[in-house]
């Protein structure tokens, strides 16, 4: 479980997160939603221990993320940031192999090689394993980065807008894979902008507004049409299309 207590974060004099108190249970997919500038990515980075808050504490599976060393934290959670960079002439296999770094520290074992191969398999990247990452399309590239995070083999996967700039085919492909991967032993926390995708895949919802927790709970209980409309300050309706998939529609 992720437990956050009185977390505040400032960038210079500007408050970004204000007194956040939260609990996110293990298992499934938790979506962090909210309008632009609500502090979603900042919250994710604080949880991942990359940003040091002005005050407050964060525990992930009872581990104080600000008290542990980087190595231990990287075995607890993988973080995929927006605009993840690579180095020139890095193959897909090499990129995914980096995911094993917290475990082998530069000296890969057989188990590491096996887990990399498995990650390539799960994300259907085997055929392009020797290709240069920079030569991949946006969707393939994102799959490669997700495979890297998966290879890290952590109980928590933190994803900061992993679907940004992807077309619907890739969005569905990636979300289906994440859905299949998430379960009691692996939880996914992701910042999402597309509410229909969140409605379709998220089990848990954390809604932020102006740096504060607007609501938090199971998706069904929290993300109602009224709550979403109030959160985004525009009329939004949660509907179900044929086949049972929920969508969020703008308008009264």
């Amino acid at each position: 479980m992720i437990e956050i207590e009185n977390l505040s974060f400032r960038r210079g004099a500007v408050p970004i997160l204000l007194n956040i108190n939260l609990k996110v249970p293990n298992g499934g997919i938790a979506a962090i939603i909210g309008p632009n500038g609500a502090g979603k990515s900042t919250l994710l980075h604080c949880i991942a221990g990359l940003l040091t808050p002005a005050n407050g504490r964060v525990w992930v599976d009872s581990v104080d993320v600000y008290a542990v060393r980087e190595g231990e934290r990287a075995r607890l959670m993988a973080l995929l940031t927006q605009h993840a960079a690579t180095v020139p002439r890095l193959s897909v296999r090499d990129l995914v192999t980096f995911g094993r770094w917290p475990h082998h520290r530069g000296r890969p074992t057989r188990e590491d090689v096996y887990k990399v191969t498995k990650a390539l398999d799960v994300f259907e990247l085997k055929e392009m394993a020797s290709q240069d990452v920079e030569a991949l399309s946006g969707g393939q590239r994102q799959r490669a980065f997700l495979a890297m995070a998966y290879a890290q083999d952590t109980p928590w996967m933190m994803l900061d807008e992993p679907l940004a700039a992807l077309d619907p085919k890739y969005v569905r492909d990636i979300m289906d894979r994440l859905r299949a991967l998430s379960g009691p032993k692996r939880s996914v926390v992701m910042v999402l902008h597309d509410l229909s995708t969140a409605a379709r895949y998220a089990d848990w919802c954390v809604a932020l507004k102006a740096g504060r927790v607007f609501s938090s709970g199971s998706w069904e209980d929290t993300a109602t049409s009224e709550a979403l409309s109030e959160l985004y300050e525009t009329p939004l309706r949660l509907e179900t299309v044929s086949g049972g998939a929920p969508v969020v529609v703008a308008g009264d």
Partner: protein, 314 residues
Amino acid sequence: MARQRLTLLTGLLATFVTIYLLWNLRGPTGFILSLRAERLAALILVGAASGTATIIFQTIANNRLLTPGIVGFDSLFVFLQTMLVLSLGGLGYTALPDTPKFVAETACLVGAAMLLFGLLFRKGAEDVIRMILTGVILGVLLRGLAGFAQRLLDPSEFAIVQQAQFASFNVINDDQLTIAAIAVALALLASLWIAPSLDVAALGRTKARTLGLAHDQLVLSALAIISVLIAVSTALVGPITFLGLLSAGLAHLVLRDHRHMVLIPAAAVIGAAILVAGQAVFERLLGLQSALGVIVEFVGGLLFLLLVLRRPAR
């Protein structure tokens, strides 16, 4: 593939070494060979140190256009030399015992380099443009101060400082060479030790930290290694700004590999090969009509411009 290319590069260096040692060998063979071997050792040391330092520097700065020289290190060296001549006088400066002067100069440069690079990386590592600008401005400031101090020198003292501003392999002191060899060997071993971590650091600070790398600690270790390599090489022969850029650029081009375990040796071998081949041509073909350092700077400078004009910084 990368290892084969590294072996080929080593073979190329061995060929240049043989040519340098044996080409036009006339007269008292033993004496000439020992003289050439001494100079050869200095060339290899400086080339290896410069190539290695630049590869590591570019990785932690996340920018393949940078060399320690560009961000002010060479200006620092010139400033120190000028201040030394100004405070001790020309006679006092030349009367300084060579080896203690070399050791003191190296220690001073290591300390100053750690300060300079520490200052640049403390807040600027994420913002490369800011880091380059800070380095360039510091370099201009140090050069300006050195220039001002040089105006206070008499012509003979000024000539001493001017001589120190360009790398020269013509006179190498045995004791200094031994000390430099030990320091460079240790620094090279240390750089290979951190090579796997540098692979991760090349992904950028944020990504490296999410993978469990103690990035700031690594940057400190890397800066210490770079400072030792560049300080030793500069104190031994003088500053060569663009040799490292040339070696690192060619290492990336030839190896086409991201692993520092092969990139570091490749840059070291290429740096040494450039100097050995260049010195062989200057000594045997051109009769020492110019300084090797000047030509290396010219070619390296052109490469720098080419890189700047060809692609984005990273």
